[in-house]
C-alpha cells in the first residue's frame, strides 16, 4: 500500500522537511516553473506523493496537466543539458531511497539515472536514436553503469531482448529502430530501461503510440517485469484504462496540481472530483455495453500561465455553481480526505459529491 | 611632322591646367625611392615623361636578364598574319622581321622606315607601281635555314586565306589583288603554293611587287607585321599563332593563351644581319592578368617591368603612381582619336545641321573628364587626324572651337543649328556604346547629360562589345536600331592619312558587315582626295592632302572628336633604353628595351 503524506493541508503549503522519509520515493511540494516570453508557465505547482518499492503509482491527467514534467523532474532531466536558455525553476524535494535529488550533485543524479531510476518514453520511435542499432543503444546503457567489455554487454542486451519477448533476439539486436514494429520497439525500449535493474521505473505514456492489441501486451509485460524485478513503478497516462490495469494508487493531476488521489479501486469506484468523473466518462470500457455517453470534459485545459483563479477546473466544471458565494472562482480548494487514504480537492461538500456521483454519474458509466 | 606635346592646351580650364602644370613641374619630388630621376641613376626611375619621345637611360642598358611584361589582354593572335592589336605588332618584332620596318628611334623618327630583311628601302619605279627589294645576307630562321624571298611571298599570301586566317589587316590583298583573283595559298593549285601574280621572286634574294595601281603608302604597309615571312613547311595554319616560327632574335619557348608567353634567344639569329634589333635581354616573359588593378599593383611593386597592352594604367594604379611614383610614368599621345560618329542613315543625322547641333551641344571638357582628364584621357579632340599622322595640326585646327570658346558646350549655337535642321525643339536618338569599355560608357553618359540641355534626348544602348563588327559594323542594323550616335575610337594601322582615315571616310569602304565608315561618308571630294593621295609620291604634297582630307571630314560634321588620346604608362625602374615611338602609336618600342646594368 502506498503511504501518502500525513495531512492534506501540508500538500499545498510548502513544508521544508529535511528529514529523510521512510518511503522509497517521496516528492514534497514539487514546483516546476518555466519562464517564457509569454509569462511564467507553472507546469507543476506543488505536488506531493510517496511511493514504495514494488508498488505502482498511476499519474493521470490531460496533456499539459504536468504529469510528464513531474516525471522528468524526478529523473533530473529538467536541469541536465539545458543550454543557455531560461532555466526551469524547480523547488521542493524529491527523496529517492534516502537521498534528496534536487539538492544533490547533478553528476550524482546522472549516475542514478539509468541505474537506480529508468524511464520508458511515449513514442519509442522518436525516443530511440535512429542511427544506432537497438543493440548498440542497450549496450551503451549497460556499459555506462557497468564496467564490462562490449561482448558481455552485448550478451546482456540479447538476454534483455529475449526477456522482453523479442523473437530471435540475437539477430534483432543488430537491427535499427525503424526496422522494428511499434510494439517491438517499445519492448526494446523497456529492455533498455531495465538493463540495469532499476529500482524506480517511470513509464511515460508507454502505450499511447501503440495499437490497441499491442497495448495490452506491453502493459502485461510491464506488470510481469515489475513483479520480477520488484521495482517501484510510476505510470503516467491520460488513459485511465492503463492505470486500471497496473496501478496500486492513482493520482489525478489538473493544471499542475493533484486534484484527487487514492487507492486505485477508490478512485475508480468512488471518485470524488468532477474532473475524475469526466475522465472516467471519456474512458472506453470494454466491460460493459455503453448505451449512454457521459458528457466528456468540455473545453480545453487551462493556460498554465494564467491558471484560473479559485478552482482551476471551474471554467469547465458543470457543478461550479453548486458551492455558494462563487467560492469556486475565488478560493483554491485544498485536498481533503474523503475516505481512507483517499483525498480530493473540491469545494462541494462530501455529501453533494457523493449524491452527484451516485445519482448522476455512476449510472451513465 | 607634328610633335604633339608643343601643340594645344592653350586655354584649358585654369584649374585643370594648374594641377597638371604642378604635376609636371614637381615630378622630381615624387616617389620616396626615386632619388634621382632626371639623369638616369642606376636604381632610380628616369623621371616623368623621360621616355616620351626620347630615350631614357639608354646608357644603362645591359645584355642579359629577363624582361618581364604583364598584361590584361592577350594578343588577338601571335600569328603575324592574324594579329591586329598594335601592341602585338610591336611585340612581334621580337620574333619576326619584315622587309622594311620602323626606325628603332624615339618619337616621330620611329615612324620612318628603315630596311630590315632588305638591304635598302624599295627601288620604286617612277609610276610607283613596281617595288623591288634585295634580301640581306645572313638572315635566317630559327632552325638556321636562310630566309628567302619565297618565304616572304608565302607569308604575304597567307593574307588571302581569310577563311582560315581571319583577323589581320588585308591592305596588301586589296592593293595587290583588287579583283580577288587569287584564292590564297591553301587553295593554291600551283606546286610551290606561290601562285600570287603580283609578287615575283626571281631568286631567293630578290622580291618584286607589281601593283595594279600605285599606292604611295605601299612601303608603310610592307612594314606591318602581317608582311612578315612565313615558311611553308612550318605553317600550321590556324594554329600558327600558338608557336610562330621565328625569324627574329627571339623564339617561342612556351605559350598558353590568356595566361603566359615565354620567348628565349634564337641562337641562329645574327646581330650582324640585323641593323634594328639590339636583343638585350636573354629572356622575355609575358604574364596575363585578369584584374587590371592587380597588374598595376604588381608593376608598381616592381614584379614586372611594363604593361604589354600599353593602354595606360587603370584609374587606381594611375592615381597611386601619379602620387608616389611619378618618375616612373610617361604620358605619351597614343595616336588614337576618341570620338562620336553620326550615321547619316539615321534621321535626323542625314541633316548636317543636326549633326553640328550635337557637336556644339556637347560639353567637351566633360567628355574629356570622362575619358580620364587631360593627363590620362588626352587633350580635347578638335579634329579627326591624330597628332602622329603627317598632316595633322592638333588643336590648332579647331573648326568648332571645341577646345576654346565652346569647350563646355554652346547651347545657343546648338539651338541655331537645330533650327536650321528643322528641329528647333530637339529630337530623340540613341547612342550605341560598347558594353565592355567603361570609359566609353562614361563618355556616353556625359554626352547624354550635356545634350539634354539643348533638347536632344538620347538613350544609351550598350551593345555587346565582343560583337562590334556584327552590330555597328552593319549599316542595316545601325539603321534598324536607330543608332544616331556611335561612340568609337580609331588609331592608325600605319601613321598616314590612308592608314588612319581610308576605312573611316572613303565611300568605297562602306561595307555590309565589318563596316568602319560608320558615318556612311560617300563624298566625291573626299574620295578624290584619297585617290590623289595614293598616287602622290611627294611627301610634302602628301602632307597637304592629308590636312585637306581632315578638313573636309570635319566640315561635314560627321564626327564629334572627344580627345587626342593620351595614356599614363608605367615604366619599370629596371628598364633601360626606353622610348615611345610613333611607329606604334606612342607605345614604348619593345624591340630594344633593356634591363639596367
Amino acid at each position: 500500500m502506498t503511504e501518502l503524506s500525513k495531512s492534506g493541508a501540508a500538500m499545498t503549503e510548502p513544508v521544508k522537511d529535511s528529514r529523510p522519509p521512510s518511503a522509497f520515493l517521496e516528492v514534497r511540494d514539487l514546483k516546476v516553473h518555466f519562464p517564457t516570453d509569454d509569462g511564467l508557465v507553472k507546469s507543476v505547482d506543488g505536488l506531493n506523493f510517496t511511493l514504495e518499492k514494488g508498488k505502482t503509482l498511476g499519474i493521470v491527467g490531460e496533456s499539459g496537466s504536468g504529469k510528464s514534467v513531474t516525471s522528468l523532474g524526478i529523473m533530473g532531466l529538467h536541469t541536465a543539458g539545458q543550454y543557455g536558455k531560461r532555466k526551469a525553476q524547480i523547488s521542493g524535494e524529491i527523496w529517492l531511497d534516502g537521498t534528496e535529488l534536487l539538492s544533490a550533485d547533478p553528476d550524482y543524479v546522472r549516475k542514478l539515472r539509468g541505474r537506480e531510476m529508468a524511464m520508458i518514453f511515449q513514442d519509442p520511435l522518436s525516443a530511440l536514436h535512429p542511427y544506432y542499432t537497438i543493440g548498440q543503444q542497450i549496450v551503451e546503457a549497460y556499459r555506462i553503469h557497468n564496467k564490462v567489455d562490449k561482448k558481455t554487454a552485448r550478451r546482456r542486451a540479447v538476454e534483455m531482448l529475449d526477456r522482453v519477448g523479442i523473437p530471435q533476439p540475437d539477430k534483432r539486436v543488430d537491427s535499427y529502430p525503424h526496422e522494428f514494429s511499434g510494439g517491438m520497439r517499445q519492448r526494446a525500449m523497456i529492455a533498455m530501461s531495465l538493463v540495469n535493474n532499476p529500482e524506480l521505473l517511470i513509464a511515460d505514456e508507454p502505450t499511447t503510440a501503440l495499437d490497441v492489441t499491442v497495448q495490452a501486451q506491453i502493459l502485461d509485460l510491464i506488470r510481469d517485469l515489475q513483479k520480477e524485478f520488484g521495482s517501484a513503478v510510476i505510470v503516467i497516462t491520460h488513459d485511465l484504462g492503463v492505470v486500471a490495469e497496473l496501478s496500486d494508487d492513482i493520482l489525478v493531476m489538473y493544471g499542475g496540481r493533484c486534484i484527487e488521489r487514492g487507492p486505485a479501486e477508490k478512485v475508480f469506484y468512488e471518485p470524488r472530483h468532477p474532473y475524475t468523473w469526466g475522465l472516467l466518462g471519456s474512458m472506453p470500457r470494454l466491460d460493459r455495453e455503453q448505451t449512454e455517453r457521459l458528457i466528456p470534459v468540455k473545453g480545453s485545459p487551462p493556460s498554465l500561465i494564467n491558471i484560473p483563479s479559485g478552482c482551476a477546473f471551474n471554467p469547465r466544471c458543470p457543478y461550479a455553481d453548486v458551492p455558494k458565494d462563487n467560492v469556486t472562482r475565488t478560493v483554491r480548494p485544498e485536498l481533503s480526505e474523503v475516505g481512507s487514504q483517499h483525498w480530493a480537492a473540491c469545494h462541494m461538500t462530501q455529501e453533494q459529491r457523493e449524491r452527484i456521483w451516485i445519482e448522476e454519474i455512476a449510472p451513465k458509466l | 611632322m607634328i610633335t604633339q606635346r608643343t601643340t594645344g592646351r592653350r586655354k584649358q580650364a585654369v584649374a585643370a591646367a594648374a594641377v597638371v602644370a604642378a604635376l609636371l613641374s614637381t615630378a622630381a619630388c615624387g616617389g620616396g625611392d626615386d632619388k634621382n630621376e632626371g639623369g638616369g641613376s642606376k636604381n632610380g626611375a628616369a623621371g616623368f615623361d623621360a621616355a616620351n619621345n626620347k630615350a631614357a637611360q639608354a646608357s644603362l642598358a645591359k645584355k642579359g636578364g629577363t624582361l618581364k611584361f604583364a598584361g590584361v589582354q592577350d594578343a588577338d593572335s601571335w600569328d603575324t598574319t592574324r594579329g591586329y592589336y598594335g601592341f602585338a605588332w610591336n611585340f612581334m618584332r621580337y620574333y619576326s622581321r619584315t622587309l622594311v620596318t620602323g626606325n628603332a628611334e624615339p618619337g616621330a623618327a620611329g615612324a620612318k622606315l628603315t630596311p630590315d630583311l632588305a638591304t635598302s628601302t624599295a627601288k620604286v619605279t617612277d609610276d610607283g607601281k613596281t617595288y623591288t627589294y634585295t634580301l640581306r645576307d645572313g638572315v635566317t630562321w630559327e632552325d638556321g635555314k636562310p630566309i628567302t624571298s619565297q618565304d616572304i611571298k608565302y607569308g604575304i599570301e597567307r593574307q588571302w586565306a581569310q577563311d582560315v586566317l581571319s583577323g589581320g589587316p588585308v591592305y596588301l590583298k586589296d592593293i595587290l589583288d583588287p579583283k580577288g583573283e587569287y584564292k590564297g595559298p591553301y587553295k593554291d593549285k600551283s606546286k610551290d603554293k606561290l601562285g600570287l601574280k603580283a609578287i615575283e621572286t626571281p631568286d631567293a634574294k630578290t622580291i618584286i611587287f607589281k601593283l595594279p595601281q600605285a599606292n604611295s603608302d605601299f612601303e608603310d604597309i610592307l612594314a606591318l607585321a602581317s608582311s612578315a615571312p612565313v615558311r611553308q613547311d612550318k605553317d600550321t595554319k590556324s594554329k600558327y599563332g600558338l608557336k610562330p616560327f621565328s625569324s627574329g632574335p627571339y623564339k617561342f619557348e612556351s605559350y598558353t593563351p590568356n595566361k603566359s608567353l615565354v620567348l628565349v634567344r634564337n641562337t641562329e639569329w645574327k646581330a650582324s644581319s640585323d641593323p634594328i634589333r639590339k636583343a638585350y635581354p636573354d629572356k622575355i616573359t609575358l604574364n596575363l592578368f585578369t584584374n587590371a588593378n592587380d597588374m598595376d599593383q604588381r608593376l608598381i611593386n616592381g614584379d614586372y617591368d611594363l604593361d604589354i597592352n600599353q593602354t595606360g594604367m587603370s584609374p587606381q594604379g594611375r592615381t597611386t603612381a601619379l602620387k608616389k611614383h611619378k618618375a616612373n610614368l610617361d604620358n605619351p599621345v597614343s595616336g588614337y582619336v576618341r570620338y562620336a560618329v553620326f550615321p547619316q542613315s539615321v534621321k535626323p543625322f542625314d541633316n548636317e545641321h543636326c549633326r553640328k547641333a550635337v557637336i556644339y551641344g556637347a560639353d567637351h571638357e566633360s567628355l574629356q573628364t570622362a575619358r580620364g582628364g587631360p593627363v590620362a584621357g588626352g587633350d580635347i579632340g578638335t579634329n579627326m587626324l591624330p597628332p602622329s599622322v603627317p598632316g595633322a595640326e592638333g588643336q590648332k585646327y579647331d573648326p568648332y572651337e571645341s577646345a576654346t570658346t565652346n569647350k563646355n558646350g554652346n547651347v545657343a549655337k546648338a539651338k541655331e543649328e537645330l533650327k536650321a535642321c528643322g528641329k528647333p525643339n530637339g529630337f530623340k536618338t540613341t547612342i550605341a556604346v560598347r558594353n565592355n569599355k567603361p570609359v566609353e560608357v562614361a563618355t556616353a553618359e556625359s554626352l547624354q547629360a550635356s545634350l539634354k540641355k539643348v533638347g536632344i534626348t538620347v538613350d544609351i544602348d550598350q551593345y555587346d562589345g565582343a560583337q562590334t563588327s556584327g552590330i555597328i559594323g552593319s549599316p542595316a542594323n545601325v539603321k534598324k536600331k536607330g543608332y544616331g550616335i556611335i561612340i568609337m575610337g580609331w588609331g592608325p594601322d600605319f601613321p598616314t592619312v590612308q592608314g588612319f582615315g581610308l576605312p573611316l571616310w572613303s565611300g568605297k569602304y562602306i561595307l555590309e558587315s565589318g563596316n568602319n565608315n560608320f558615318a556612311l561618308i560617300d563624298d566625291k571630294t573626299i574620295d578624290g582626295l584619297f585617290d590623289s593621295y595614293v598616287k602622290e609620291l611627294d611627301e610634302a604634297k602628301k602632307v597637304e592632302l592629308s590636312t585637306e582630307i581632315n578638313h573636309k571630314v570635319m566640315e561635314g560634321g560627321y564626327y564629334l572628336p572627344f580627345v587626342f588620346e593620351k595614356f599614363v604608362n608605367w615604366r619599370g625602374s629596371n628598364l633601360a633604353n626606353v622610348y615611345t615611338t610613333d611607329n606604334y602609336s606612342g607605345q614604348y618600342d619593345f624591340v630594344n628595351l633593356a634591363l639596367k646594368k
Binding site: - | 584609374p315 560639353d363 573628364t369 544602348d461
Partner: protein
Amino acid sequence: MTAPLHEPTAEVAPSAAEEAAIAGSAEAKAVQGRSLGRIAWERLKRDKLALTGGVVVLVLILVAVFAPLITSLVGQDPETHHENLIDPLFSTPIGSYGGISGDHLLGVEPVSGRDIFARIVYGAQVSLLVGFLSALVAVVLGTILGVLAGYFGGWLDALISRVMDGLLAFPQLLFIIALVSVMPNEMLGLTGTGVRLFVMILVIGFFGWPYVGRVVRGQTLSMREREYVEAARSLGAGRFYILFKELLPNLVAPIIVYTTMMIPTNILTEAALSFLGVGVKPPSASWGQMLSSAIDYYDSDPMYMVIPGVAIFITVLSFNLFGDGVRDALDPKGSR
C-alpha cells in the same frame, strides 16, 4: 556564388528543449482561440531585431517608391554630371571622403561627379524591384507547381519533382549570366534597362521556384492526407474548391516564410549580376554596378566602394533579420 536558399525554415526551426515544448504545446492549446496570424504578430512584436529589420525594410521600400521626391528634396538627381567636382588629374572627387558635402550627402562618383546619394536612392528601386518581383515569380510558380505535384501526385508529381531536382543542380549564376548577356536590347516593347530588369526578374524567379515548390509540395502532400480535406472531398466539394479553400490557407505560412527568405538572396543575386556587368544598363543606377566600378578607386576614393557595399549589406541584413523573425513567429512549434 550567391547564398543558396538552403536555410531550413519551418521544418527545421530552432526548437527549444523538451519541457518548454511541452509547456508550449500546452500553451498553444490554451490559446487556440487566437488565430495563427495574431499569435505570429504577437511574437514578432516582441522580437526587437526583427522589428528593426522590418522598419528598415519599410523605410527602404518608401525610399524606393519616393526616390524622385527624395532626391529632389536634396536638390539632386542621379544622372546630372558634376565634372567641376572632379579632380581632372585623378578623376576622383575633390574633397575628402569622396566629396561628401552639404549638397552631396554621400559625395559624388569619380569621373562623372554624379550624386551618390541620388544614385543609391535610385539603386534601391532596382534592388527592391528585382528582389520582390523575382520572389513573386518564384512563389507563384512554386506554389502552382508544388500544389499540382503534391495534390495530384502520379506522373505529374514525378515530372515536376525531377524538374525541381534538375533546376537545383543547375549552375544557376552561370546560366543567369549567360542568358542575360545574350538577351537583345529590345523586346516586348521594353528597351535597355527595362529588358535587363525583366530578364533578371524572370530568370532569378525561375531558378528560385523549386525552393518554394519543394516546400509547398510537401505541405500539400501531408495536408492531402489529413482528414478535413478528405471530409471536404466526401461532402462532394470540387477539386478546385478543395484546392483553394482548404489547401491554400495552410500554405500561407510557409510561403510567407520562404518569400521573406528569398528576397534578400535575390537582391544579392541582382547585385552580383550588376557587379559582373550583366545587370541594369547605365545610366540607371544599381548598387552592384557602383561597387563594380568602385574597384578602380578602392584606394583613391574608398567611400565610393564602401557606400554601395554598405547599402547592399544593410538591405540584405534587414531583410534577413525580418525574415528570421517572421520564420520564428510563424513556427508552429511556437518556441523561440
